[in-house]
């Protein structure tokens, strides 16, 4: 028995004993008080009677001054042992006689007091007047001890103690029996409570008690136990669901794609919730249907049976699915009672209860989580709540995955864009620089071109050797001109002015090998290095449409690179192959070396402009130009390289199988028979001189002026003189007054005078339709004599 239970018993007992004890005490005390009061009155009355009797007997003694007699009278008090003293006082208040005789002096008041009775602590004092007839003769003092009262009190105390003791005993015995009726059910209740808490067994119930209140208490206790039992059950279920939710959330947190997220969710649901069927459908807004995206691992068989296999579509009916699409969690306790197609379909699989949770992101239902069980009404309210929460988590996770994907895509796009922009920026800078260089080079080589062409035309006595040299010079100059033209344009896509010609690569390769022989043969030999050349040219190689100069340059660059890659010597292989990769035959040129090769980083960057591995010797433009050419020809470039093993560069061109269409204007030498008066305006003396020489050789009259202003002035002076120039040939780029201003001025003076504009940017002006006003023809530098003649003839016809 625990201390508390004992205490309840003890308390009941104490209560009973205290109650009866207090009642008895109060009763006894009241009785005491009453008795003491009445007893005191009785004593007073008794004393008064006695006193009055004695007083009556004392009158004569007082009247006749006889104290002895008075003492005799007083001695009558001997009869009452409680009267301890008595005295007579005469009329003046003086002590007359006292009793008992042995009374010590001072034991009595020396003088009488007014009549009446007074209680002291241990005594009762009574003053009784002594009268005879109507005369007062003196006062009798009677002093009684209160022994009688105390005796009585003692007696009463003994009686009260006895009564209380007996009552307590009886009360104890009674309450001992009666309290068991109270304590027993309480103890039983306590034992039940302990049993419940010790064993955590909330199925235990307390037996009902016979007392009404205790019965109510027991009932309330049992009710509480029932409630706790139910709450505990709910709590455990909720905990399990929470744990599952956490488990699933954590699992899908590790997944990065929709498929595996759904897979994890469905598998967890099938195993742990559990459900008998589960799938995730995605909403296709375009077709207003649902596409099954994922089916739970254990639901595949059922899904096939229901026609809900992956990739199958479900039309949205007006019941559950449409409501779910509206963002609601849809729960059908029994699909057999549903008429809509989807519940019917589910019901066919033996499933009864169906729960569809929307997957919502930003108020948009993009899919649904479908869960079903074979029992009807199998989803409890917490289950629904759980699936609702889960669907929110899943939707968020999927959304996050999509966001991640979009972010990655955007990041990649951004990187690509940045790369492109950087590249374009580099090329733009390069292009500007190249334009300037090209202009100067074109000016510089113009005399070479003009004189060479003129020599070849007008000097028939030249030896074959000289003529051959001049031819080579002319080809070189044309290459220079086209190289310069490409230099500022190599980064562009194929431009309209790129003149394509039918090219046989075998011939081009022979030419290039001939031109570059000093680099792959002579120079290495001087350094004691042996570079072996292998050419494997395919017979019957189809022609390719292309700009031969560009291709030649590209091959030259590749050969130089191959040689540079073999500082210790090696084998240079140039090979042409016909491939049949994509229906149309393709022509492939391979330039392979056995040199140092490229590492991955170099291989990746080798096409970038200004990227070079050659230090000061390299410009970083070689392969960039090759790549530009490849792009312009819609060809492909393949690079195979391995560090230490060598590099193979492969240029793949589509073979040209169509009929020959030449866009090249073939040079047709034709001499202008008319003698023309030509105004030549330029700021380059060398160019002026060469143009003047060649045109004068054709029989024209040339007026050469240095600079735009000088040209305008010359034209004005001639115009004033009444004569006129037949045609004006002016440079475009000149300081202060450029070709445009010159043209404008001359047209202002003589609108009919034709004007030819010579420009280092000529091809670009033509291409961009940017021919300045007032100019009749634009020719690029270096000027080809035959083009110039043709233009002169045409404009002055």
């Amino acid at each position: 028995m625990s201390a508390r239970v004992t205490s309840i018993r003890g308390k009941l007992m104490t209560m009973n004993l205290l109650t009866s004890g207090v009642v008895l005490l109060i009763t006894t005390a009241a009785f005491f008080a009453y008795d003491v009061f009445t007893f005191r009155q009785a004593i007073v009355r008794q004393l008064n009677t006695l006193g009055e009797a004695i007083a009556a007997n004392s009158t004569a003694a007082l009247a006749f001054d006889n104290p002895e007699d008075a003492r005799v009278v007083l001695s009558a008090f001997k009869a009452d042992p409680h009267i301890v003293a008595a005295a007579l006082y005469d009329n003046s208040g003086k002590l007359f006689a006292a009793y008992p005789a042995s009374l010590p002096a001072g034991a009595l008041p020396a003088r009488s007091e007014s009549a009446g009775y007074r209680f002291g602590h241990t005594e009762l004092l009574g003053f009784v007047p002594v009268t005879e007839g109507h005369r007062k003769l003196g006062v009798l003092l009677v002093k009684s001890d209160l022994g009688a009262i105390y005796e009585r009190l003692r007696l009463y105390a003994v009686i009260a103690a006895f009564v209380i003791a007996v009552s307590a005993l009886v009360a104890y015995l009674l309450s001992h029996r009666l309290q068991q009726q109270l304590s027993r059910p309480i103890l039983r209740l306590a034992e039940t409570a302990r049993a419940v808490s010790d064993r955590q067994d909330y199925t235990v119930r307390a037996a009902s008690a016979d007392a009404h209140e205790l019965d109510v208490l027991t009932g309330a206790f049992n009710h509480m136990l029932t409630q706790i039992q139910q709450s505990e059950g709910r709590l455990f279920a909720q905990l399990a669901r929470l744990s599952l939710l956490q488990h699933i959330t954590r699992a899908i947190g590790d997944r990065q794609d929709l498929g595996s997220i759904c897979q994890v969710v469905l598998r967890s649901l099938e195993e742990n919730l559990p459900i008998d069927f589960g799938c995730v459908c995605l909403h296709d807004a375009a077709t207003q249907s649902l596409a099954v995206n994922t089916v739970g691992p254990a639901s595949h068989a059922l899904a096939d049976e229901l026609g809900l296999a992956v990739q199958s579509t479900v039309p949205i009916d007006q019941n559950g699915l449409a409501r779910c699409l509206g963002g609601q969690l849809v729960y059908e306790p029994d699909v057999r009672e549903m008429q809509a197609p989807f519940p019917q379909r589910i019901a066919k699989g033996g499933l009864r209860s169906l729960l569809i949770a929307p997957l919502i992101v930003e108020n948009n239902v993009f899919g649904m989580l479908v869960a079903a069980r074979r029992q009807a009404q199998a989803f409890s309210s917490p289950d629904c709540e759980f699936l609702k929460h889960l669907s929110e988590h899943v939707a968020l996770a999927i959304h996050q995955t999509q966001l991640n994907g979009a972010l990655q895509q955007a990041y990649d796009d951004l990187r690509q864009t940045q790369h492109t922009v950087m590249q374009q920026e580099r090329l733009r800078a390069l292009g500007q620089m190249a334009s300037g260089i090209a202009h100067d080079i074109n000016n510089a080589i113009s005399p070479v071109s003009l004189y060479t062409e003129s020599l070849l035309e007008r000097e028939p006595n030249l030896s074959e050797r000289a003529r051959g040299y001049l031819g080579t010079i002319q080809r070189a100059i044309e290459d220079v001109a086209s190289t310069v033209a490409r230099m500022r344009e190599f980064y562009r896509q194929r431009e309209p002015q790129l003149t394509l010609a039918r090219i046989n690569f075998n011939q081009t390769i022979e030419q290039v090998l001939g031109l570059t022989k000093p680099r792959w043969c002579d120079l290495p030999q001087q350094r004691g290095i042996d570079v072996e050349l292998r050419t494997e040219l395919a017979a019957n190689l189809p022609d390719v449409m292309g700009a031969e100069g560009e291709i030649r340059d590209a091959l030259t660059n590749l050969i130089f690179n191959a040689v540079d890659a073999m500082p210790e010597g090696g084998t240079l292989t140039v090979r042409t192959v016909v491939e049949d990769r994509q229906q149309t035959p393709q022509v492939c040129i391979e330039v392979a070396d056995t040199g140092v090769g490229m590492d991955e980083e170099t291989r990746r960057r080798c096409l970038e402009p200004f990227f070079t591995t050659k230090g000061e010797r390299g410009t970083g433009l070689g392969l960039a130009m090759v790549y530009g050419m490849i792009q312009r020809h819609s060809a492909e470039l393949e690079i195979d390289s391995e560090t230490g093993k060598g590099t193979t560069m492969r240029l793949i061109f589509p073979a040209h199988t169509e009929a020959f269409v030449s866009t090249l204007r073939l040079p047709a030498p034709q001499l202008v028979t008319r003698r023309l008066r030509i105004l030549l305006v330029d700021d380059d003396p060398m160019l002026i001189k060469s143009l003047q020489d060649t045109l004068e050789a054709d029989g024209h009259v040339i007026t050469a002026t240095n600079g735009g202003q000088a040209g305008i002035d010359a034209f004005k002076s001639v115009h004033k003189g009444g004569s006129a120039f037949s045609i004006v040939v002016t440079d475009l780029g000149m300081p202060q007054v450029d070709g445009r201003k010159v043209a404008a001025a001359i047209k202002g003076i003589a609108p009919r005078t034709p004007i030819i504009l010579l420009t280092g940017w000529g091809q670009r002006l033509l291409a961009e339709g940017d021919a300045p006003p007032h100019v009749d023809r634009v020719l690029s530098k270096p000027p080809r004599l035959h083009e110039l003649r043709a233009a002169l003839a045409e404009l002055t016809a």
């Binding site: 009556a56 007997n57 009158t59 004569a60 003694a61 009247a63 006749f64 001054d65 006889n66 104290p67 002895e68 007699d69 009278v73 005469d90 009329n91 003046s92 003086k94 007359f96 005879e132 007839g133 005369r135």
Partner: protein
Amino acid sequence: MALLRALGLLLLGSSLAAAQALAASPAPSEYQVKAVFLFNFSQFVEWPPAAFAGPAAPFVIGVLGRDPFGASLDEAVRGETANGRPLVVRRFRRLEDVDNCQILFIDRSEGARLEEIVAGLHHRGTLTVTDFEGSARRGAMIGLINESSRIRLRIDVAAARAAGLVISSKLLRPAQIVDETAGGG
């Protein structure tokens, strides 16, 4: 002496203002005490109605012979009553003068004629009081006896009864009773 003084004070208390009495009073004289005694007898003895001359007649205390009291007796009875009758003091020279009188003090000057006086008063309902030696058994009802500086009473009950007077037993308690058969002095 204390008792005497007390007695004097008692006497004075009944006749004088209390202040005067308490101020300074000489010890009461023998006859002052006896005067009070005479008065007190009126309280302890019952007289038959026939003893009075009429219903309105005063209660008379008479002194026969020489008056030893002086003014004491008058002072003792002043303003007092007995049985509703006013108290009066009368002095008689001779027996023949004695008229209606309830208490008669017979001075020793008349002692020689005591028996004669008592006989003369017979049937008159008069309480006779003497204070001289040898008065006992000579017919006087109450004798005031000086005894060791106190005054004691000696009562002849038979004489009083013969005169129709009833003496209170209280008065008898402190007194000597004269027995007819025994000699007394």
